[in-house]
């Protein structure tokens, strides 16, 4: 059993995903054959133009929006920055209050901190032990000057799903003018992202989390939402996002979104089966652990554990030595002194949070890989616990 079945086993799909071969195939012509600039008037340009617009159309129909509501960006970090700062900038200094949550990705939290320095008020809502925000707490946080609510659809560390549809409905009932943004980066593979159904005004998506290329993403911006561009230049994307369009990237993003939605049910079924089997095995074979992912309120990919008494980065590197790629919420791995803000937000103590490991499964994983991981994990944890001067001594 403890035979290395292959060099590299990838259980870190929340960090990034491999580009699907079908996506890669669609992208390939747009590097050195059809290399025109989307904005050029000649034949090369037209080729690029039609490719991008075809992708935009496909994406718009998938997201239930109109074509000109899709703005291509370099990924979700940029989309989130554009959403938050673009809306606030458009207010030209008017008093503003943003509501967000304590479990957002840094690509929301850090821009919020920057806006706070400029005098914007920000409320960071707590979440429950399951990593889900209570819609009532959102409504209760709304003030007269609340202009923007930004709440992630799926959390990247836990996999927890926020009930965006309910939150939007309740928030808009209290004040229909509030602009609602969701970071849907981790949701597209697993949940419907119809902006009509969700009711959101802005939504961020990234290519590389959905078996598409890195460095490309989009921001859905509902018609009529005021937004001031962050970068000025050649007027691309209706001047909201200047910069020569990443044609192969956008073509890949279009294909990736199409495949994600078309194969969602199949992938969800496969991945959740693997994930549940893995969780069962870990709970059976490793004592003294905490399952941080509440599987009933999470997407199918995530299994986040704390292995009490073993430090996360060390676990990660033991698994890496066995050819298994995972990630950790330990401070040691991030270079900061604080462990994962998400784990702290769901009430995990610091000293325990350092022992967290996130396994995120994907559509190419299989049962053999899980069995292999289950065969090497217990001894890695045991080894580290033996080394720990404080554990069971």
């Amino acid at each position: 059993m403890k035979k290395k079945i292959k060099e590299n086993i990838y259980f870190d799909h929340s960090a990034t995903t491999p580009v699907d071969q079908r996506v890669l195939k669609e992208m390939m012509p747009y590097f050195s054959e059809k290399y025109g600039n989307y904005s050029s008037l000649h034949g090369f340009g037209r080729e690029a133009y039609f490719a991008v617009e075809k992708a935009r159309e496909k994406i718009a129909s998938t997201l239930d929006c109109s074509k000109d509501e899709v703005i291509f960006t370099s990924g979700s970090t940029e989309s989130n920055n554009l959403a938050l700062k673009g809306v606030i900038d458009s207010l030209k200094g008017k008093s503003a209050h943003i509501i967000t949550t304590q479990i957002e990705h840094d690509a929301i939290l850090v821009p919020c901190k920057q806006l706070e320095k400029k005098g914007v008020e920000v409320t960071y809502l707590p979440v429950g032990k399951n990593g889900v925000v209570d819609p009532k707490s959102v409504v209760n946080a709304i003030k007269d000057n609340t202009v923007l609510i930004s709440i992630m659809y799926v959390n990247n560390e836990l996999g927890s799903i926020n009930p965006i549809q309910d939150i939007v409905r309740m928030a808009k009932k209290k004040n229909k003018d509030i602009i609602f943004h969701t970071d849907a980066t981790q949701a597209v593979n697993f949940l419907s992202c119809s902006v009509k159904d969700l009711g959101v005004d802005m939504m961020s998506i990234s290519g590389h989390k959905i078996y598409g290329p890195k460095g490309v993403g989009l921001l859905f911006i509902r018609k009529g939402i005021p937004i001031t561009p962050l970068q000025a230049g050649g007027h691309q994307e209706r001047s909201i996002r200047s910069g020569t369009l990443n044609v192969p990237g956008i073509v890949g993003l279009g294909k990736a979104i199409e495949l994600a939605v078309k194969e969602m049910d199949k992938n969800n079924k496969k991945i959740s089966k693997l994930r549940d089997y893995f969780i069962k095995g870990v709970l059976k074979n490793v004592p003294d652990i905490i399952l941080n992912t509440d599987v009933d309120n999470s997407v199918s990919s995530h299994a986040n554990f704390c292995f009490v008494g073993a430090e996360g980065e060390s676990i990660l590197l033991y698994l890496d030595a066995e050819g298994i790629a995972v990630s950790t919420g330990s401070a040691c791995a991030s270079g900061s002194l604080e462990p994962s803000h998400v784990l702290l937000a769901i009430g995990i103590e610091k000293e325990i949070a350092h022992s967290s490991i996130r396994f995120t499964f994907g559509k190419h994983n299989n049962k053999e890989e899980i069995d292999y991981a289950l065969s090497v994990l217990p001894s890695a944890i045991r080894k580290l616990r033996t080394m720990n001067p404080l554990y069971n001594k």
């Binding site: 401070a331 002194l337 720990n388 001067p389």
Partner: protein, 122 residues
């Protein structure tokens, strides 16, 4: 962040890991809420460190530092051991990533703590 091969070697097969039952002195530093704790056990005869063992909770850098430092102090006199600097440990490990340099202090502090306690006892 990339670890040197030496760090990974120490991490995977740490030297002098464990405890000494009748140690002459023990030093423990760090804080579990920061994710790093190191405990060093010394057996001392005629002011010479005859044996040394460590237990560490922490990242690969903390474990590698513990392993390398215990190698370095074994057989040295107390005074020689006190002269070991973090720079020496880092060099011995073929370098540490910038954000991990503080881990080298943990080892030195644990050693100094153990020796301080020993000197007080004597």
């Amino acid at each position: 962040m990339i670890y040197s091969d030496k760090v990974i070697q120490h991490f995977k097969n740490p030297h002098n890991q464990g405890s000494i039952e009748n140690a002459d002195t023990v030093g423990e530093v760090g804080n579990p809420s920061c994710g790093d704790v190191m405990k060093i056990y010394l057996k001392i005869e005629d002011r010479i460190i005859k044996d040394v063992k460590f237990e560490t909770l922490g990242c690969a850098a903390a474990i590698a530092v513990s392993s390398a430092l215990t190698d370095m102090v074994k057989g040295k006199s107390i005074d020689e051991a006190l002269e070991i600097t973090r720079q020496q440990i880092i060099e011995d490990l073929g370098g540490l990533p910038e954000v991990k340099v503080h881990c080298s202090m943990l080892g030195i502090e644990a050693l100094h703590e153990a020796i301080k306690k020993y000197e007080k006892k004597d």
